[in-house]
Assembly symmetry: C4
Homo-oligomer: 268 residues x 4
């Protein structure tokens, strides 16, 4: 969808999902930190949230596919017509949505059934990002310099997120890894908006798509987005942490591990 | 073997092997999950299946090499004739089979002898895939666009499988990793068929090997194969899991770990 | 800053930081080795040093940004003027400093607050190096052969350090990894000086920027810098180790683990 | 040294070193497998062997550097003469030897001093291979097709070995990884011989350096070398294992773990 809206919609989704992951994982982290050593089971509320997350993924993927297919100038579920392919771009976007839908199914299955390991959801999410990047990669060739460059920077966020979430399959409950993955989603979301602003400016003149200065600025701008995403997650982490520590001071705790924690955080 | 059959035969082998790995590893996973904590030894049936698997690999590799060498237009074990190499393509295919044969030998040795660690079989299988991809990689240059592209997509499945199985040497008994490896074999098998259909269509006109639309479709089609392979493995996993859980409910179990498992799966 | 000083200043900073990391981490390693098994907490002096390190990073980053912006021919915080970007090079350098500043903030936060895991500082430092390499990578294109080559060798040290420090997030208290990271900082620092000497020679004729012999020499010279950095760290490690072992012999120790250590080091 | 001998000498060294590593590591593995669980210390003979290995590395590196420098047409320790570099090829080879020397020093230090972790030797060996590959990589450009290709295949063995030995720093006492590293040395050694035979044939006509068939053959031939190296290590492993198992049957053992081992190996 080659207009500003076509970049703002996925951008908003990825931003929201990134923030949602940040909040969920920080809460899980503080919950685990506050428990005595033996108990590691999360309360059922997290299970219910995972159902909702998985369900929303499946729903959004379904809506996305329907929109891509049955929009006015879409392929209307027709793949091949006479002697040429019909609207391959829409079909590729549908394929991307399909994988996010599969990721939602995997999340629900792994939450519901005890014997399906919880890493299945992560693997499917990582593959969904991989497929998104994979299709984008072959998308981008033979475009003007700035257009190709700004999309290839998107791939840094996409593949970075994919690799990070793939690692979560093997390294469990590592809060840094989990927040880095969330951070990559936020970066991807905000960068989608940036692409929209650059390629389809809402006001002012069009950007020169072959100017080297523009390429240099855009590269640097990507780093700024990364910095903002990092700082957002870092301060979100810290502010939630302060609430939790205050809560811990007010609660009378019996387990040794909690006492030790309190003592150390008091001495600061 | 530049015809449809030449792609369907390896495709069928990889498909079968992928399904076989899926079933074997799911059964092993549920067996391990049902055992009380201390006992991790698999029953002897799995040992016998590994002998059969290794033996079949050696046998298939031997037959493959013989066919490649002594087929009517093959090199008949002659490597160099007068001043040029004889049928290097057949020799390369023989080399690929050789490594799958070595992988079979390694599997048998590591199953039979206690002091040979079981990872040896995985390493050899991973190297067999690596060599296949390595030879294919230098195979593909200087072909028409679509031909080169469709083969390079095969490499994604080949090297993906190789990396995944290499990881299994270090990360043992991780069901997600094991099933991902099986998934890559299924993907490779089905993609061999797809290559056959595209390059040597059974009916209809030939594909335009230089059309960019065809390249875009083929890239997307590869993702569909991946989606089907993932869903096949996922639902296979789930359906086997249901049988096992039902079996567990009917059995009176004594160990605590099993009780806990039952309670949690009942509450769902 | 295209002169010798513009390379000597960052070079000195990286050299100093590399040596500082070497000393800090060797001391931490010997402290941990001398403790009986149970106690792993570092003494408060290390905490205070981390505050100072983080604070200096933030301060140096702030000064760096100010200098880049408000130097005589700098952009004076102006990004866009009429129809072109203003001094993008200075803006890119400011961006690099910004990330080292964020890394300092993350180090302080993770030292101060118990619930912020200590790996956050490492991740931020790794990302700061990644961003530095990332911006340099797009910097270097379209320069003369030797200029491009000598900067791309810098990237080996930058990305090597970034990867090594990223690994430290997951593999904690591994002295080899920690010293390798420090080594990459020393290498980067000394290579900055080398770049200065080659591109802006203090005396003698200019280097021929397109001569293949110069490229070959520079490649080899990079390896020499690596060798010197490795040997510096290795002998520093060894000499500190000797002091510690002598100290241990003079102290009467009660714990078994220390006794065993002494016996083994005596028998050498 | 552009002749057959110049490839046979390093080839012989790498072959010998690979076999030496194979034997040492298999013996260490069986020693560890035969010990009861608690005791993991290797007998002092292994310590002495490591001294010898390190010493030989330092000695060989020293001799190698001397030969490269003071051979008749060498640079005689002169780096720059008038306005050009002197014999950069010999200087690059000296640099490679230097790193193997450093690796020997690191091995001796980590064997001698308890507080220097044993992984330091592995890291230095891995870096020595990395530097070898790094210098070769820039060596190879702008040569005839076959010459460049046959050297870039060498890089597969060099970087494969470097990565494998780097992994050993983090994953200790994994016999598969250790033997794979040894295998890469054997492969590198035998491939040096192959390069000698192809580029400087002892008898018969010269190879056509631009023929695509030759490139295809050489690629396949590399896989054969790999297969031979793998089988050599695998059967070496197995045959040593048989001796050990026989030895274990003849010894009356008391520890449970040994009994269990014997029972299982008897039942085969």
């Amino acid at each position: 969808m080659a207009n500003f809206g076509g970049h703002a919609i996925p951008g908003s989704f990825f931003l929201l999902y990134g923030f949602w992951l940040t909040v969920k994982r920080i809460l899980q982290h503080y919950w685990r930190s506050n428990q005595p050593k033996g108990r590691q089971t999360l309360p059922p509320i997290f299970k219910r949230l995972d159902y909702i997350e998985g369900g929303l993924q499946v729903f959004a993927a379904f809506v996305g596919i329907m929109v891509e297919q049955f929009v006015v100038d879409g392929p209307h579920a027709q793949l091949y017509d006479k002697d040429s392919w019909v609207k391959l771009m829409n079909w590729q976007h549908s394929t991307m949505y399909l994988f996010f839908g599969i990721s939602g199914i995997a999340l629900i299955l792994s939450t519901k059934f005890l014997l399906v390991p919880s890493g299945v959801g992560r693997l499917a999410l990582s593959l969904a990002l991989f497929v998104e990047g994979f299709l984008f990669y072959y998308h981008v060739h033979s475009r003007p310099l700035l257009d190709a460059h700004i999309h290839s920077l998107l791939l840094v966020a996409v593949f970075g997120g994919s690799a990070s979430i793939m690692l979560e399959v093997f390294i469990r409950d590592n809060i840094i890894l989990e927040l880095f993955g969330a951070c990559m989603f936020i970066l991807q979301g905000s960068w989608f908006y940036q692409i929209g602003f650059v390629l389809y400016p809402l006001s002012g003149p069009d950007w020169n798509l072959t100017d080297h200065g523009n390429v240099m600025f855009v590269t640097m701008c990507f780093c700024w987005h990364l910095a903002v995403a990092l700082l957002l997650v870092l301060f979100n982490f810290r502010s939630k942490g302060r609430d939790v520590e205050i809560g811990m001071r007010n609660t009378s705790s019996n387990s040794n591990s909690q006492k030790a924690l309190l003592e150390e955080s008091d001495e600061e």
